[in-house]
Amino acid sequence: MEQNVIMNPDGTQEYFVNMGPQHPSTHGVLRLVLTLNGEIIEKVEPHLGYIHRSIEKMCEKDNYRQVIHLTDRMDYLSAHMNNHAVCLAIENGLDVEVPDRAVVIRVIMDELTRISSHTLWWGVMGMDLGAITSFLYGFRDHEYITEIFEETCGARLTMNYNVPGGVMFDLHPNFVQKTKDFIAEFKRKLPEYDTLLSNNVIFLERTKGVGILSKEMAISYGVTGPAGRASGFANDVRKHEPYSNYDKLDFKEILYTEGDTFHRYKARIDEMWESIKIIEQLIDNIPEGDFQAKTRKVIKLPKGEFYQKVETARGELGVFIVSDGKMNPYRMKFRSPGFSNLSALNEMAKGGKIADLVATMSTLDLVVPDIDR
């Protein structure tokens, strides 16, 4: 702690406050050391390590099938996309052809996960700004999707549904109908979000022009996902390096140039509309056939390095596997979006008030287990 106490020439000390590790708006065990001048923030220094579970190291002793379930526990709100990334990386190494049905199921699941993650983020964002009601509205819609997942995957949060070569089980018979019902319902619910927050004068005052991140800074810090795109950094992996069948789908990459808290918020709201569009294109056209390609019980990747990145709800997730030909990876490395996004927090929050820091941090949509693997 001593290194944080800066003595001024006149013998006074900097006023610093520990925000976290237990704090309502850090959403997990993240500790921020704030250097304050009254209410104004001079420096934000994130301290990590409170929820480090050494997932990368654990991957080295598990075999390739076991590795997947560990990635659920990183960014638990986009568990499905994490699984997807690992599976794609393994499939790159194995050179397996994933059946069309599995590809479509994976994409629908990914987009449902994105919506569920964003609804939860929206609720929490409102709560961070002091409007607790939005939290429950967000959870209401999150709950619909979790129920859909529960039916098909058997789990609500950590699905572990993807396996190398496809998905673990076929879709539940109710899946298509339930997803359609949800989309129809959610299209009515999404404008409610605008009524409650996006068009609220206090909300606009609190978010517009606050926590600005320039495009140059976004690129140099590697801020990806909606947070980066709100600053004008076109980085949607689905568009620029398409995986699965995203190249065949019609959707827009949401881009804004302002880079303030409000546009990071707006980018996520718009992304939900795009996800709805993607699901609507696919839900009636799920091809028949196998949901899983035949793979060996014990997977052994050939010697070499394999990399795959996907677009999670938070940004770009990269999975890097070094294989020495054995049944477990020699080294696995995850490039998590949360870690890079958090690193830009000081840049955004400097000079703002404490309340601005909370709003800014909220639009980065941090999931601490993702930052601290």
Partner: protein
């Protein structure tokens, strides 16, 4: 004893005379003091409990929830259970806090509403004391509460508490001005500081109707400033749980925390009663000057019902604010007060003085 729900003064006078017939006057006064004091404390506790329950239910309606529904019928005993739990909990005092001030703060916080409760009119004759300077007394005493917030924040030796206390100091002191000026409009119109006379002056119609535009402005300003003064959302910066964990009462636990918690709700009640009395006629039924038949029909509903109805509507309104709006930032709060509400109130006071002078009110 002659009891009437329309006028409590005869009932209380007869009790007083009955007691005088049995014992010396000094003893009667002592007994009355003790009874009234106990009644005020019980009333405050009951008020806090029912408002906490009400708020939880209202919040639940707004948030697609059911709210408390397990303890007692529809969960009415839930808050009682919660307060019992808080009483039984250990009231911690942090080691490095200023122990005297730390323990004093919750009592100051609770003392102000206790005193104010006595000066408020609840129904005809149902008032502890109708002071000649009632409005002035109530606004003056209720602002002592901020001292409790400041002391709590300062003595806790916690940085979050200190920031919270500084925020609320800046906020409450600022909004006192607008709230005071807003009440002043009606005082100018009615020409009295006494609650009884202010209510009596609304026999021909409530001031919100008789005073038209300037009183409407004052009413809205008072509602905003009153919400800010009670530290409720969207002005709950002093607590701001997403920024400062719990703000000025972060370190408090047990019964001391319960005091802060109850004081917030009793303060809300006080603000609402002032608004209802000054602008909406308090216990005075809805009267329209000239329509005698209508006025007589309205008089059938007892004053206490009118009073409770107005208070409930205003409380619901203020709860609605809290569960809908996001929180303002500290600089925005001060901007709202000093750049908008205060100039508006100052112009409004001149306007109302002019209107009173010309007799341009109903």
């Amino acid at each position: 004893m002659n009891f009437s729900i329309y006028d409590f003064s005869a009932f209380f006078t007869s009790i007083h005379e009955w007691l005088l017939g049995m014992m010396p006057e000094a003893l009667v006064t002592t007994i009355e003091w003790i009874t009234i004091g106990t009644a005020a404390i019980l009333f405050t506790a009951l008020l806090g409990l029912s408002l906490v329950y009400g708020e939880r239910k209202v919040a639940a309606w707004f948030q697609l929830r059911i709210g408390p529904n397990r303890v007692g019928f529809q969960g009415v005993l839930q808050t009682v259970a919660d307060i019992l739990k808080l009483i039984l909990k250990e009231p911690l005092t942090p080691k490095s806090s200023d122990k005297f001030l730390y323990n004093l703060a919750p009592f100051i916080m609770m003392m102000a509403p206790f005193i104010v409760i006595a000066a408020l009119p609840y129904a005809k004759g149902l008032q502890v004391m109708d002071l000649e300077v009632g409005v002035f007394f109530v606004t003056a005493v209720s602002s002592i509460g901020v001292l409790g917030v400041l002391l709590a924040g300062w003595s806790s030796n916690n940085k979050y508490s200190l920031i919270g206390a500084m925020r609320s100091g800046a906020q409450i002191v600022s909004y006192e001005l607008s709230a005071g000026l807003a009440i002043l409009t009606v005082i100018v119109l009615s020409g009295s500081l006494q609650f009884g006379e202010i209510i009596e002056s609304q026999r021909e119609g409530w001031w919100i109707y008789r005073g038209h535009i300037p009183v409407w402005i004052a009413f809205i300003v008072f509602l905003i400033a009153g919400t800010a003064e009670t530290n409720r959302g969207p002005f709950d910066l002093a607590e701001a749980e997403s920024e400062l964990t719990a703000g000025f009462h972060t370190e408090y636990s047990g019964i001391k925390f319960a005091f802060f918690f109850l004081a917030e709700y009793v303060n809300l009640f006080i603000i609402v009663v002032i608004a209802a009395t000054v602008f909406l006629g308090g216990w005075m039924p809805l009267h329209i000057g000239g329509l005698d038949g209508f006025n007589a029909a309205m008089d059938i509903i007892p004053p206490i019902v009118w009073f409770l109805g107005k208070v409930t509507v205003l409380i619901l309104l203020i709860m609605w604010f809290k569960w809908t709006f996001p929180r303002l930032r500290i600089d925005q709060i001060l901007t709202l007060e000093w750049k908008y509400l205060l100039p508006i109130s100052l112009v409004n006071i001149v306007l109302v003085a002019f209107i009173t002078l010309m007799g341009w009110y109903f």
